[in-house]
Amino acid sequence: MSEPAVELRDVTKVFTSTRGDLAEEVYAVQEMNLEIAQGEFFTLLGPSGCGKTTTLRLIAGFERPTKGEIFIHGQPMSKVPPNLRPVNTVFQNYALFPHLNVARNVGFGLEVRRVSRPERERRIHEALDMVQLAEMSNRRPSQLSGGQQQRIALARALVNQPAVLLLDEPLGALDLKLRKAMQIELKQLQAQVGITFIYVTHDQEEALTMSNRIAVMNKGRVLQVGDPVTLYEKPASHFVADFIGESNFFRGVVEAVSGQLVEVQVSGTRVRATAGALPPSSGQEALFAVRPEKVRLIISEESIDGALRGVIQEVIYIGTDTRYIVNVEAQSPVAVRVQNGCGIAPQEYRRGDVVQLSWLPEDAHLLAD
């Protein structure tokens, strides 16, 4: 394996804002360590204010780390200004130059780097072809739609063949349908050009759709790094389980531990879960999460071993699935998703039905609180 495209070592960024005599310190990024492989589609995912955009700006060089060091292809970047870094950025608001036409916007980086005119024109043409906007080369940015501006911003960055492309919520301003189409297009483009993409978004679905790996961030820290399947199937913390997809959380007391299998007392019933990275001990308080589609509903007044008893409070039919909200004693309402697949009649269960809720132990993950 070659050296990582980008490496962050103990990177901390503190913003100091002074208001009168009061100096307030805000930790935007705290002791961040990341290794991003060459050719990877890597996503920084988190709610607004989590430090994901600051991280991107640190890599681009618009901000300097307070502590720590950033390496791009093994080279330390602390003394390298943004104009000399082998990265290009697609800005959230696109930041296209309003006084230049599309071709000159795209060719801007080449012009600055004194690329010869014929070579420049060839590459501008190639880049515009790639984003399918060759016929727009004489337009001004203000004459383009949001989606077109977004593609031009992408072409303007990619034409320079950067080692790493940084994208700051580039699809945030587009409508849902266009965003979905662009997600697929971006993903294909990345595979085609083979450039490392570092992508910032707060949209977990977008992150899952496009990324090879995702770093989930909150309050300036990276909580978990992993591929989409791992993050969804094996979230390590309450925040990750809650932020990516939907989760039902249960609190209880650990009764028995045998290897990975943990038995937890929840609302007077003994249920099973998987320990994951946190081997608990008996008598300890535990929190675990189960995805709505991993919960099985069984109509039965009789209690079933390892199942929680509940009463259906709400039945919501949403076409492909039916959602049930089930009240369980001393727990938050539990969401259950049943797919309306072959042989299952929609709305099989009714409001007020007493049901038993069960799941496979490997679908219930003990979490760090």
């Binding site: 943004p82 104009n83 950025t89 800005f91 930041a95 130059f97 801007f108 600055v112």
Partner: protein, 283 residues
Amino acid sequence: MEHPRRLFALIGPPSVYLTLFFLLPLGIMAVFSFRAGTIGEARNVFTLEHYRQFIANAAYHRLLWRSSLMAFGIASISTLLAYPLAYFLTFQAGERKLTLMTLIIIPTWTSYLLRVFAWKLILGTNGLLNTLLLSLGIIDQASPILLYSRTAVMVTLVYVWVPFVALPIFAALERIDRSLLEAAADLGCKPWEAFLRVTLPLSAPGVIAGFFFCLIPTLGEYVTPLLVGGGQGAMYGNLIQDQFVRALNWSMGSVMSLAMLLAVIVLLVIFSRMGSFSKLLEL
């Protein structure tokens, strides 16, 4: 139906005002330019004599040309001085922006005449500048040429105009999206390259507005040359004033005014052909 009426209610009063106090006097002036004399029977005689005189007299053209050059120079120097000022306020001043801005504007609250008179005290033979240069031993005797010269007119008018030229430039710089400068750096620009390729072209409308803001009134300036210019610093405006007030030759004064109006219009047309000025109007 309602919109045209509302629009008329809005533009009605200023239209009436401008017609009464701008277009009408302009028309009267045009009429006077064809009259043989200002008073008496001569008023009713139509003549092109004054136009002929104006066209024949090279001294008038020289003064109009020289005044245009002076106005151009004053506007250029004011713009060159105002740009760094506006740039500093926008990008460097930070929290002091408002304070510094107020400091620049405060002098303009005092009377224009007062500020011009102040320069008389600075530039006069026994003035501040001469005294200072004498006491520093840079000159042996007080120089009378500091005042009553073309330079004195230019120095004074540049002083008067810099804040007003700085304002539109400041507004244009403020409007530039900071992410455009980051994008320029991201695409390989050193700071000065980003300035030349992005900041300067995007602030051009403000620069042009400021430049014309200064150029056009300066072209017709006559108070400042009167106070600090003396014979050497006289401008075309003084010549017009002389025709109206001293020579009582309103017809000649009218012809000369119209000639200047034509000069301004020609200037504006040239600049609007250059494209940038029309873009300014769109903004």
